[in-house]
C-alpha cells in the first residue's frame, strides 16, 4: 500500500504521481485552467520550488514536461503517491 501526500507538502525534487484530485473543492475556472496546464489524475509531478519569504507560497511544480506556478490552497486538493521506481 503506497503512502499518500498532498501536493503542497511534497518534499522538493522527488518524483511523485497524482493519485486523486478533489475537483469539487477547486473553483470551476481554476479547475479548467488546471486541466489545461496538464494537471490530471495519473500525471507525473515534482515539487521544484517553494515561494518567496516566510509564506513559502506559491509553489513551482513540474507537471509532465511543463513547470507551473500554483498556490498552496489549490495544491492541497491534489493527492500524490510516490513514483514506483
Amino acid at each position: 500500500m503506497p503512502w499518500l501526500m498532498k501536493l503542497d507538502k511534497l518534499p522538493l525534487r522527488e518524483k511523485w504521481r497524482v493519485a486523486a484530485i478533489d475537483w469539487s473543492l477547486i473553483p470551476d475556472s481554476e479547475g479548467h485552467r488546471l486541466r489545461s496546464l496538464g494537471m490530471d489524475e495519473g500525471v507525473a509531478v515534482e515539487a521544484l520550488h517553494r515561494g518567496v519569504m516566510l509564506a513559502r507560497d506559491p509553489l513551482a511544480i513540474r507537471v509532465g514536461r511543463m513547470t507551473i506556478a500554483i498556490r498552496r490552497k489549490v495544491a492541497a486538493q491534489i493527492t500524490c503517491q510516490p513514483e514506483q521506481a
Binding site: S29, E30, S36, G38, V52, A60, I68
Partner: protein
C-alpha cells in the same frame, strides 16, 4: 475571376514559439490592429505558399483550449469557428507545438483536428528539445495524428520551406462543413489521456533534461535571492528610463525647435502660423518627447517577457499581491502601467479571475505613467531646492521617488478597498505556466518595439493633435479687446471656463493657472505643462528647455510651495487622461466602471491635494 488569397490561421498553446514562427513566415510585412470591439490584437501578414501563391497569415492569441478561459482564448475560438466579426474564417490552420512539451500541446492539437480543418502541425523548437535530450519522431507523430507534421526551428528559419509546401497543399483540401461549434470537444479526460499516449509513443529517447532552466530557477525563485534580484532589476530599469533617455529627448526637442523655426520663417505671421507653431508643433512635440522613455521601458518589458523571466517575477510577487486581493497575474499589467496605463489595462486580459481583472484595471492609472514625468519635473525643478540629503541622494530625486511610492501605496490601498467593498470576492487565484528560459531574438524585439512606437505615435498624431488644436483655439478666442487689463489667456474661452472652476479648486490651494491647466490635461497629462506655459503668457513657440526654465522661474515667483505640493499630490491620483478612461470602457464593456474609476480617482486627488495644501500651510509654507 480573381480570388481573395486564402486565410491561414496560426494557432497554438502559449509559449509554443508561435510569434517567432509568424515573424519568420511573414517577415516585417505585418499589420497590427485590434479586432473590432475588443482590444485583442489582430496580427496579420502576407506569406508565400510553396508554389508562390500569396496567403494571408493570421497570428491568433495563444490558447490552451478552445473552451476559453480568457478574452484572448475567446478570440482564438471565435476566429477558428468563423464567428469573429471582421475576420474571414480560415481555410487552413497551422498548429504550432513545442517539441519539448508534447504531452500538453497535443491536447489542443487534437481539439483543432477534431473540427475537420485542413491542418499542418509545426513541430517547433525541435532544437531545444534535442538540447534537453529528447528525440522526437515527426513521422510517428504524423502517423498518429493523421496530418502532415513539419519539424521547424522558427528562430533559425529551419523547416520554413517545407511548411510553405505543406500548407500550400493543405489549402486545396475541402473546408469543414456543418456546425463547427458542435464539434468542440473541450477538456475531456479521454482527450488529455490520448494526447499523453501519443506524446509517449513519439518520444523515442529521453535523457537528462532542462538543466539550464532549473539552475536559473534555483536562483531566481530562491525565497530570499529571488525578490532581491527582482527589485534590483526594477531599479536598473527605472534608472535606465531616465539615464538613457536624456540624449534622444534632446534630439527630439532640437528637431521640434528647428521645425518650429522653419515653419515660422516660411509661413506668414498671423493666426495660421500661431496654430501650426504654438498649437500643433509645440503640443504634439511635448508628447513625442516621451517616446524614448516609453521605448526604453518597453524594451525592458519585452526582454523580460521574451526570456520567460516575467512569469518568474509574477511568481515572486504573487504572495505580496495576495495581501491586497490581487495575484502574480496582476503584476505584469501593473508594471506596464509605469510606461502607460493603456497597454497596462490591455495586458489585464491575461488575469484569469474576472473580479481580480476589474480591480487591476481600476488601480492601474495610479501607477506613475511616463506622461506624469514632465509635470513632476517642471514643478520639482521650480520648487524643490537641488540640495543633497545624503551621499548620492538629492532632495529632488527623493521627492520624485516619493511621488512614485505614493502612487504604488495608493494603488495597493485602493485595490484592498475595491476588493473588500466593491468586487467582493473570496480571494484571487494564481495558476500559470512557467516556460523555459530562452534567449530573446533581436529581430523579434525590434519588431515588438517598432509596433509599440507606432501605436504611441499614432496616438500623438490623433488625440494629442486634436487636443492641441482645440486648446490653442480656446486660448486664442475671443481676442482680448485693446486696452483691457485682462490677459489674452484670462479673456479667452479657456480662461472663462477656468474662472468657473477656480472656486471649486480654491479650497485645495489651486489658483487660476492650475484651474486652466487641469482641463486640457484631460487629453494627456503632459499638456498641463504647455497649458501653464501659455497661461503664463510666455512665447511658447521657442526652445523647449527655455520654456521649462522660464516657466519654472515664473511659477516659483507666482505660487506658494504649498500650492506646488498640492499640485503634485493632485497628479499622483487624478485620472487625467481620456484615453485611459476610454480603454477602460472598452475593456470592461460598460460605462459603469470607467465612471466609477473617474469619480474615485478625482475624489482621491482632491482629498490628497487638500491634505497636502493645508498641512503645508500649517507648517508655514503657504
Amino acid at each position: 475571376m480573381t480570388k481573395m488569397p486564402p486565410v491561414i490561421a496560426l494557432v497554438g498553446n502559449p509559449n509554443a514559439g508561435k510569434t517567432a514562427l509568424f515573424n519568420a513566415l511573414t517577415g516585417a510585412r505585418q499589420k497590427v490592429a485590434n479586432y473590432p470591439g475588443v482590444t485583442v490584437e489582430r496580427k496579420a501578414g502576407r506569406m508565400a505558399l510553396g508554389d508562390g501563391r500569396p496567403a494571408e497569415l493570421v497570428d491568433l492569441p495563444g490558447a490552451y483550449s478552445l473552451v476559453p478561459d480568457s478574452l484572448d482564448e475567446e478570440v482564438t475560438r471565435n476566429v477558428v469557428l468563423g464567428q469573429q466579426p471582421g475576420q474571414r474564417r480560415p481555410e487552413a490552420l497551422i498548429v504550432v507545438v513545442d517539441a519539448g512539451n508534447l504531452d500538453n500541446h497535443l491536447r489542443f492539437t487534437l481539439e483543432i483536428i477534431a473540427l475537420g480543418f485542413p491542418v499542418v502541425v509545426a513541430l517547433n523548437m525541435i532544437d531545444l528539445a534535442e538540447r534537453d535530450g529528447l528525440t522526437v519522431s515527426s513521422e510517428a507523430l504524423a502517423d498518429q495524428l493523421g496530418v502532415p507534421v513539419i519539424e521547424t526551428v522558427a528562430v533559425r528559419k529551419r523547416g520554413l520551406e517545407e511548411l510553405r509546401e505543406a500548407i500550400g497543399t493543405a489549402v486545396t483540401a475541402p473546408e469543414p462543413q456543418g456546425d463547427l461549434a458542435a464539434k468542440l470537444i473541450g477538456d475531456r479526460k479521454d482527450i488529455s489521456d490520448r494526447a499523453r499516449d501519443i506524446a509517449r509513443s513519439v518520444v523515442l529517447n529521453e535523457t537528462g533534461g532542462r538543466q539550464w532552466t532549473r539552475r536559473l530557477d534555483a536562483v531566481l525563485l530562491h525565497p530570499l535571492a529571488g525578490p532581491i534580484i527582482l527589485f534590483a532589476l526594477l531599479f536598473v530599469m527605472f534608472q535606465a528610463v531616465f539615464a538613457w533617455s536624456d540624449a534622444p529627448i534632446g534630439w527630439i526637442e532640437g528637431a521640434m525647435e528647428w521645425l518650429g523655426a522653419l515653419v515660422s520663417s516660411v509661413l506668414p505671421g498671423g493666426l495660421f502660423q500661431s496654430l501650426v507653431v504654438d498649437g500643433i508643433i509645440a503640443g504634439v512635440g511635448s508628447v513625442v518627447v516621451f517616446l524614448p522613455q516609453i521605448l526604453i521601458l518597453f524594451f525592458f518589458i519585452l526582454i523580460l517577457e521574451a526570456t520567460g523571466y516575467m512569469t518568474r517575477a509574477a511568481f515572486v510577487m504573487d504572495r505580496l499581491m495576495a495581501y491586497v486581493g490581487l495575484s502574480g497575474h496582476s503584476f505584469i499589467p501593473l508594471l506596464s502601467s509605469f510606461a502607460c496605463a493603456i497597454p497596462g489595462i490591455m495586458a489585464t486580459r491575461s488575469v484569469m479571475d474576472q473580479k481580480e481583472r476589474l480591480t487591476t484595471i481600476l488601480v492601474a492609472p495610479l501607477m506613475t505613467c511616463a506622461a506624469r514625468l514632465p509635470v513632476y519635473t517642471v514643478i520639482i525643478g521650480a520648487f524643490i531646492p537641488a540640495q543633497s540629503v545624503g551621499p548620492g541622494v538629492g532632495l529632488q530625486g527623493l521627492v520624485l521617488f516619493g511621488l512614485y511610492l505614493a502612487g504604488i501605496v495608493g494603488a495597493m490601498l485602493a485595490a484592498l478597498a475595491i476588493r473588500k467593498g466593491i468586487t467582493k470576492s473570496s480571494g484571487s487565484s494564481f495558476l500559470m505556466e512557467m516556460p523555459r528560459f530562452q534567449m530573446p531574438r533581436l529581430r523579434d524585439l525590434a519588431l515588438g518595439l517598432w509596433q509599440r512606437a507606432w501605436v504611441f505615435l499614432r496616438r500623438a498624431g490623433t488625440i494629442i493633435f486634436a487636443a492641441s488644436v482645440i486648446l490653442w483655439a480656446l486660448l486664442s478666442f475671443p481676442n482680448v479687446p485693446e486696452g483691457s487689463d485682462m490677459s489674452q489667456a484670462e479673456y479667452s474661452v479657456a480662461g472663462r471656463i477656468a474662472g468657473t472652476i477656480e472656486p471649486v479648486v480654491r479650497p485645495i490651494g489651486f489658483n487660476k493657472d492650475i484651474a486652466l491647466a487641469i482641463i486640457p490635461a484631460m487629453a494627456a497629462r503632459e499638456v498641463a505643462v504647455s497649458a501653464l506655459a501659455t497661461a503664463n503668457a510666455i512665447d511658447d513657440s521657442g526652445d523647449e528647455d527655455a520654456v521649462a526654465q522660464t516657466l519654472g522661474q515664473r511659477l516659483a515667483g507666482a505660487w506658494s510651495l504649498a500650492t506646488a505640493l498640492a499640485f503634485l499630490a493632485w497628479f499622483v491620483f487624478a485620472p487625467q487622461c481620456i484615453s485611459t478612461i476610454a480603454v477602460t470602457k472598452r475593456e470592461t464593456n460598460s460605462w459603469r466602471w470607467p465612471i466609477f474609476m473617474t469619480v474615485y480617482l478625482f475624489a482621491l486627488a482632491y482629498i490628497a491635494a487638500g491634505i497636502t495644501y493645508w498641512t503645508a500651510v500649517y507648517f508655514g509654507l503657504g
